[in-house]
Symmetry: D2
Subunit: 283 residues, 4 copies
């Protein structure tokens, strides 16, 4: 399929928005191939995702944003336009566990994720061999309470140097500072529980102790408040009295990699809009 | 919320469809509250559901269809417009099992289903007390091989007399003739298996014999080909070697009533479009 | 099938327990039809459920318990023996919502629950007509902060008078006092969230605000600590940005009645053993 | 944990079986750590899995089977005893798709599968690099209609040479001859549909055409009848009208690797008993 443009827009709801957006695309010769919208009446907010083919679209690519800007300004919202052939650059951050990392690398290689994975960072050196095997640059940046601020600066420089669009915390097991998230907000984290249950440390151990019959995993955008960011995707699996904490950990690994992969894929396809502490994930 | 109009349309895909539809509504003062679309590129088909508020819409209600007709004719598709305050009239057909019937009646009474249930028909008299309790007309129309054709005529007359919009086969356990379905095609059936597995008779017994680890239920539109109609909704539940056929039947009852209720609700909210032997179910 | 006896036993783990229990049954002419066990090595606890046919069992029914007592005493555990033809007597407590009540009544009537439902109690009079329709005694016992202690005494008297074995809180929406639970500990509650997430009031509203992608329901034994009792069963359903709080409530109703019914059925089949704050639910 | 012995036994049901088995273990100083049983009353069959600690067990390992044989012979059934420190030897057969292979290798390496994977065989050379990377012997054995019989002989020799206990068809995409299965019956296959739906070729394409709302995967023992063998595990995932056949394939890959891994793990833990065309999978 030829390249497409995808508009993600949210603005105060009022009459005629769909018509204005559709007219902009149609009058410039574009063919819409997917369009979805959501109106949150409580928040008085209109959110939409529109994807159209660039083949036959009359506006040169560098004119599309300025042209749309004229339409969008009176709407008073926020918007971005993504082009499908501009492949997002992704950094994966890990600690010692390899299952989410390997899963993302395999999915990228098999074409499930439209991304270049150009950087792997870790506070431990353990997973460097995987980075080597896939030919991806690996940085070992250990973190202590004392060095954290300085090391985060280093991390930000690396992200900038590699022109990273998205950081995926694939079991990074470290909390990002509020300052870091402010400077680089496009971070997806996987938490190994069904949030808001068992936020914080040792969720599987605590799930075992509480005697739950189902465990879960949650992918969310990182915010300064730990485990409180907007949720993108969740899933669960049934457990029983026979499952010890190590069993929960084992079953949870499957959840973690599936949930994280789905969230990352939705983000990379520009299907996620954040508003307040919620997300719209367009199917 | 004030009354709304809902357009369901399918037509060959071409440029500008969204713009034309949105302009029709906007130029007449309508406010779109939900819009969804699907393009099936293989079938070259555009399918959409658009719902807008009638409050403030400039066209009188009886002019909406003729006015839209002028827009739609060149598109060469099929469409319907539904008004949310025109409550569909539903007939429920049963045999001897009460679980789906009771479930639908309970959901209707508690406001989950926007419908009037005005007729219960059965080839057995067993469930008449339930109809009486809910104050709904009950007709016992027994069917034998010999009487089937004549009885179906009687059934069609009743549907016409009650001005029925939708027939729900809530475990009716009888096959409708091709002729019947041709005359009255708006029929939703619940089949007690995960179609196409175990089409036909005794699905739970056959599922037991096959040793499956999951059973299912399927709601679909009835067609002359038994269990082959367009699927609206399916769901499943896990079973184990401990589950005998009666256990499958018991677990299946929960599936049947949930799956049927979801399908009926989607239909009543005008969220289902049929094309070929498939459905689009707009969320 | 003829009547069966079911032993539920938990005791410190040591060698030969299975042999001792099996020998007791075999040497008295019993035929085991189901046996399951669980050893919690961390707690050094052995838990088992053994069901055997009473037909051909040599011990008269009133001798079984004393005879088994001699075997069990040295094991130093706790145990109960239930006979399948002694039907448990159940009280259902409700407030204003009818879905769980109707569901339990329907399941009991259709043979899914081996119980006599002999009492319905509520702090509101709204659901009396349902009790009347099913011919079950209904007591309206309003609760205020001031009257709570006195009314709970009245409730305990009623339970005693009706010889109730199990109280099912089918959306009772009132907290039982620690004193009440101490006097009558066999109480199953349904909480409308995936515990421990959203314990306490308004779980659906809070789930909406948190933006979760899955909601749940939890059936647990009531304890003096609100929503902290041993969990028997949980289940979940997927939600999306399109689901408002009323949608969560509607979807949750289906979860609530399924989860509560499964928990009650497991309890009535003597499949649940509590230890610490956990349950073993034998399949 | 120290080594354990696991008995898998099925025999005609009669009184005292549990007592006899438990006495055998107890009288020889064994401590049962897990025991589960199932009685199929229709088939008059008793099936059990008992696991006990070898530490403290009085019988030398090479005497256990003969000693048990004396107990078991009068029972008239079939049985096997496995020792947990005798690690099963597994061959994985593939065609061109790598997802199931990589998943099994990763799980084995991370300790989820108690197995040595000593052989990878394929009718295509494509996945040799993966075998090399994991240091596992790879054999490319192309199959044509004409060479099939001869090549299967070669395959059987390799299995014998490597002393293989279990063959896992990880998307092998070739049918085994009845003759092969007769000579080597311990073969687990993953079929990419919810059997018995879409047995045979191109299940995802056919699922798309049928318009199902859920797809599945099935792990089963291979038998001469294609896709008809005893089912070990199944799972499903929801799809919608938005999912094209390639989407079903992508979603199905996740199912395939999860379902296959669970089935292989259950088999390797000696939790699966086959009888007739059914399995008991002890939890």
């Amino acid at each position: 399929m030829s390249a497409t443009a995808t508009l993600l827009l949210s603005c105060p709801d009022h009459q005629g928005l769909v018509a204005k957006l559709a007219n902009f695309i149609y009058s410039n010769g574009g063919n819409i191939i997917q369009a979805d919208q959501h109106t949150d009446f409580a928040a008085d907010l209109f959110l939409t995702r529109i994807e159209w083919q660039l083949e036959g679209f009359n506006l040169p690519r560098d004119v599309i944003e300025p042209a749309f800007s004229a339409i969008a300004a009176p709407m008073g919202g926020t918007w971005r336009i993504h082009f499908s052939d501009v492949v997002p650059r992704v950094a994966i951050w890990v600690s010692k566990q390899d299952h989410c990392l390997l899963d993302l690398l395999w999915r990228q290689r098999s074409g499930e994720l439209n991304a270049e994975i150009t950087l792997i960072m870790s506070n431990h050196p353990d997973l460097k061999p995987i980075a080597d095997q896939f030919g991806i640059e690996f940085h070992h940046i250990p973190i202590t309470k004392e060095t954290k601020a300085a090391q985060e600066l280093k991390q930000l420089e690396l992200l900038q140097h590699h022109d990273i669009d998205l950081v995926v915390l694939a079991k990074y097991m470290q909390v990002l500072s509020a300052d870091f998230v402010k400077h680089f907000p496009r971070v997806i984290n996987i938490h190994h529980s069904f949030l808001p249950a068992f936020a914080g440390a040792n969720p599987y151990q605590r799930a075992y102790e509480r005697g739950v019959k189902i465990i879960g995993a949650t992918a969310h955008y990182a915010t300064p408040d730990l485990d409180e960011g907007p949720i993108i995707e969740q899933d669960v699996i049934r457990v029983s009295h026979r499952d010890s904490t190590p069993d929960l950990i084992r079953k949870g690994k499957d959840l973690e990699r599936m949930v994280l992969a789905r969230a990352v894929r939705s983000h990379l396809q520009h299907r996620v809009l954040i508003y307040g502490n919620r997300t719209v994930v367009f199917a």
